[in-house]
């Protein structure tokens, strides 16, 4: 699962530049260097560490290796590759074998070397996975999401053989080994410099101890991060780009200008309007992938306030200006979530509502007539969420619901939704693991995680979601999914508005775009002509 605070911002771009006189002949040439501008950079080099920001995922992705990685599959519309959730390939693992009882998996490691020159061993893998499970915070939560819960599950059989014992059959266990949390550290280097801390937190926060395709050459937090290629990388095809310069540029307008002027070759995380303009102008390529498992939703509190009444939740779903929002807020960079017909085994999918003010008005009247309420959203998402909120306010006014808009500063948003008392909240949530039950587990399940903003409690739903999560076969799984989709279609604790596109703008000279569920740039595949 992922942090929803802001769109993941990080982009690659290359600027034309003049080689400085006297630069060494071995310095990476212009065509081997990428200049990347991002809204903000990493606050740590250790994604397992507590408090790491979204861009740290990019560090984990490019500077460290995992046992497995998601297999690239072409994006249907062209322009690069995305990932297929069920299909995995080895990264540090040369091969892997599921036990016949389906309760463990054995991995054979490649002959890979850390940046320090030491070979990667099963001991390092165990140390790293143990660390992820015990360090606490987000890393541990993410591990648990794939039933990776305790160090006893990880066994270093010999130097090159590693085994994971399952606590239960969970289809998410293997995919969860491919996300940006269970990556492998050079455990000896970390322990040597750890200063007695078994997790070497302070050292790993500021240093890379990995085997990944890139090393961090310099890191000035809040200013720039420079990556240099690890020429000895053994876990895949050697990347073409030898050097990546990632600069933090807060202003999206500046980032767009850099793209249009050709000073930038790749840019992530622009406002949808800018992606649309760039795509229309055709000077640069814009590649959009509908964010897997991601949806903009209006969460309606089911425990306190007016929306306890399911009729009012349905009224909101009926009056939601889906089409207007898609055009004016997302500028078409998304998929409409209205007017669904038959429930499918997919997430997100359109709910069976479409803009119909008369139906909505009738429901409001039946539920007691006009009232006033408040709509919250994260100020960090204002570019998209604010016009959305304004349109919703206007639409709801037409059926007698007066809405006050409350834009909550980023740091406070988490605390605000944790209260679970806000009547209406606009939020975008996207899970890393693309399964419907995974999404609902976070946002509507009785475990009441922070993302269950509607505070929805329904034992019937919990039963269906849990059954789907550990379903023995596909038929049972599909049946469960269709059932809980039907349930939330009627109950609407969250009105899905649209599935946003994850866009990236690339100059025509840049190829090899690879979308990753963590939504950070993967330098390893990028090429520059």
């Amino acid at each position: 699962m992922a942090i929803t605070r802001r769109a993941a911002i990080a982009g690659g771009l290359a600027a034309p530049f003049v080689m400085r006189q006297g630069a060494s002949a071995q310095a990476p040439s212009r065509s081997e260097t990428l200049l990347l501008v991002q809204e903000y950079g990493p606050n740590s080099l250790d994604m397992q560490g507590i408090g790491s920001s979204q861009p740290v995922n990019g560090v984990a992705l490019n500077c460290y290796d995992r046992l497995l990685r998601f297999k690239p599959v072409p994006i249907p519309g062209g322009g690069g590759h995305q990932v297929a959730m069920g299909e995995l390939e080895g990264e540090l693992a040369e091969s892997w074998q599921l036990a016949s009882d389906g309760m463990s998996c054995t991995f054979k490691l490649r002959d890979a070397k850390f940046h320090s020159g030491r070979p990667v061993t099963a001991k390092d893998v165990k140390w790293s996975l143990d660390r992820a499970c015990t360090i606490g915070g987000f890393a541990t939560t993410q591990m648990n999401a794939g039933s990776l819960e305790k160090p006893e599950q990880f066994v270093a059989v010999d130097d090159k053989t590693f085994r994971v014992d399952f606590v239960r059959k969970d289809k998410m266990t293997l995919p969860n080994l491919a996300v940006t949390i269970p990556f492998v550290f050079d455990s000896e280097l970390a322990m040597q410099n750890g200063g007695g801390d078994p997790h070497a937190k302070e050292y790993l926060k500021n240093n890379i101890a990995g085997s990944g395709a890139y090393k961090v050459e310099s890191w000035k937090p809040g200013v720039e991060t420079i990556y240099a290629r690890n020429d000895a990388w053994a876990c895949g095809k050697l990347p073409q780009l030898r050097r990546i310069i990632a600069r933090d540029i807060a202003s999206p307008a500046t980032r767009r200008a850099l793209m249009e002027r050709g000073d930038a070759d790749v840019s992530y995380g622009l406002p949808p309007k800018d992606f649309k303009d760039l795509a229309d102008a055709g000077k640069v390529n814009v590649v959009g992938v509908p964010i897997p498992n991601g949806v903009w939703g209006c969460y309606l509190n089911t425990q306190v306030g007016p929306f306890k009444d399911v009729r009012l939740r349905q009224a909101v779903a009926w009056v939601m200006p889906y089409e207007k929002i898609l055009q004016a807020s997302l500028f078409g960079r998304g998929v409409d979530m209205s007017g669904g017909t038959t429930p499918k085994v997919a997430w997100p999918q359109p709910f069976p509502y479409k803009s119909d003010a008369a139906k909505a008005k009738a429901l409001v009247d039946a539920a007691g007539g006009p009232f006033a309420t408040t709509l919250y959203f994260d100020a960090g998402n204002a570019t998209v969420a604010e016009p959305m909120a304004v349109l919703i306010k206007e639409a709801l006014a037409s059926i007698g619901i007066t809405v006050e808009i409350n834009k909550v500063p980023g740091a406070n948003f988490r605390a605000e939704i944790a209260k679970k008392t806000n009547p209406m909240v606009l939020n975008r949530f996207a899970g890393w693991l693309d399964y419907p039950d995974y999404y609902l587990f976070w946002t509507m399940h009785g475990n009441n995680s922070i993302f269950n903003i509607a505070a929805y409690q329904n034992p019937a739903l919990d039963k269906l979601v849990d059954a789907a999560r550990f379903a023995p076969d596909k038929a049972a799984y599909d049946a469960n999914v269709v059932d809980f989709i039907k349930l939330v279609n009627a109950e609407v604790p969250m009105v899905p508005i649209n599935q946003p596109t994850h866009d990236v703008a690339l100059q025509k000279s840049i190829g090899g775009y690879q979308f990753q569920p963590c939504r950070e740039p993967d330098f390893r595949y990028l090429t520059k002509a």
Binding site: R256, E260, D274, L391, K393, E394
Partner: protein, 299 residues
């Protein structure tokens, strides 16, 4: 930014007796100084828009129309339309009232807090003076915009809190000017005369000192009104301004800022122009009022 020179203690000058020729003098100032005339003209325009604006605009400033979003200036939409198809001209005009209110309210508040504290400090001296001086020094030592941000962030972003924050960061300015003005008049002849006729010190403060420093405070207020609007705009730019979809110049500029590079310049330009005109007008007005009340300019 304010006119820093105003912090300097002004020279003692004679108070002109209330004059029936004030209007004539004003006419003289305006005719002699066309810029001041311009400022008064703009002020009348702003006042008009603030009072009648919302009822004379061609469109509902809050009504969206996504079919006509992001259109440039035209006969139908003089200032164009924004992302949601709202008429920018209507929003700019309708925003005048709110911006004017923010400016007037924050200036009134700081006048009550800072002005009176300063007068008391200057008139009584002693521990009152020490306390007011310390408070003013402490506020001055803060990076003021960041202090305003902190206050609004802590109290929550609402119009009231923007007004409070703006008043607080202007406190030292008012306190110092008022203190200096009160201080030089403490032993002035007309005060001594009133004191001898048995008035209490508090009474002296309110009946003799305060009315006499009103003109110079008026100059100060006019100058800081512009600053109040700029401050609110800056807060909007970093997301701490008034709540959407309320039209307010600063937040409109901030919203439009991201559209400048894509060529939709009018979204930020016209609110920016209105903002600039208002601040410009208040600043020039301050100069004009100074000319009006400064006896040295009277012939």
């Amino acid at each position: 930014m304010n006119d820093m020179s105003k912090v300097e203690p002004p020279p003692l000058r004679f108070e002109a007796p209330p004059s029936t020729s004030l209007l004539a003098h004003a006419r003289h100032i305006v005719s002699e100084n066309p810029v001041t005339g311009l400022a008064f003209g703009l002020f009348a325009l702003i006042l008009f828009a603030a009072i009648f604006g919302p009822s004379i605009v061609p469109y509902d400033p809050l009504a969206s129309n996504t079919n006509s979003a992001l259109q440039g200036p035209s006969a139908a939409h003089w200032f164009g339309t924004d992302q949601l198809g709202r008429d920018i001209f209507s929003r700019v005009v309708a925003a005048t009232r709110l911006d004017f209110t923010i400016a007037v309210a924050s200036v009134a508040l700081v006048f009550l807090l800072g002005g009176l504290a300063g007068v008391a400090a200057g008139f009584f001296g002693g521990w009152v003076d020490t306390i007011v001086g310390r408070v003013a020094d402490t506020i001055m030592a803060f990076p003021l915009f960041v202090l305003a941000m902190g206050i609004v962030a802590a109290l929550g972003n609402s119009v009231t809190n923007i007004v409070i924050a703006t008043a607080i960061i202007n406190f030292p300015l008012y306190a110092r000017v008022a203190r200096a003005e009160a201080n030089v008049r403490r032993e002035a002849g007309f005060v001594q005369a009133a004191r001898l006729s048995g008035n209490s010190e508090w009474r002296l403060l309110l009946t003799q000192i305060v009315p006499n420093i009103m003109p110079i405070m008026a100059v100060q207020m006019s100058l800081t009104m512009g600053y109040a609007i700029l401050n609110a705009a800056g807060l909007s730019f970093i997301g701490l301004g008034v709540r959407p979809p309320t039209p307010e110049w600063g937040i409109m500029v901030a919203e439009g800022a991201s559209f400048i590079v894509s060529g939709e310049w009018w979204i930020a330009f016209f609110p920016g122009l209105a903002l600039m005109t208002a601040v410009f007008c208040f600043n020039l007005l301050g100069d004009g009022v100074r000319d009006l009340v400064d006896p040295q300019r009277r012939n």
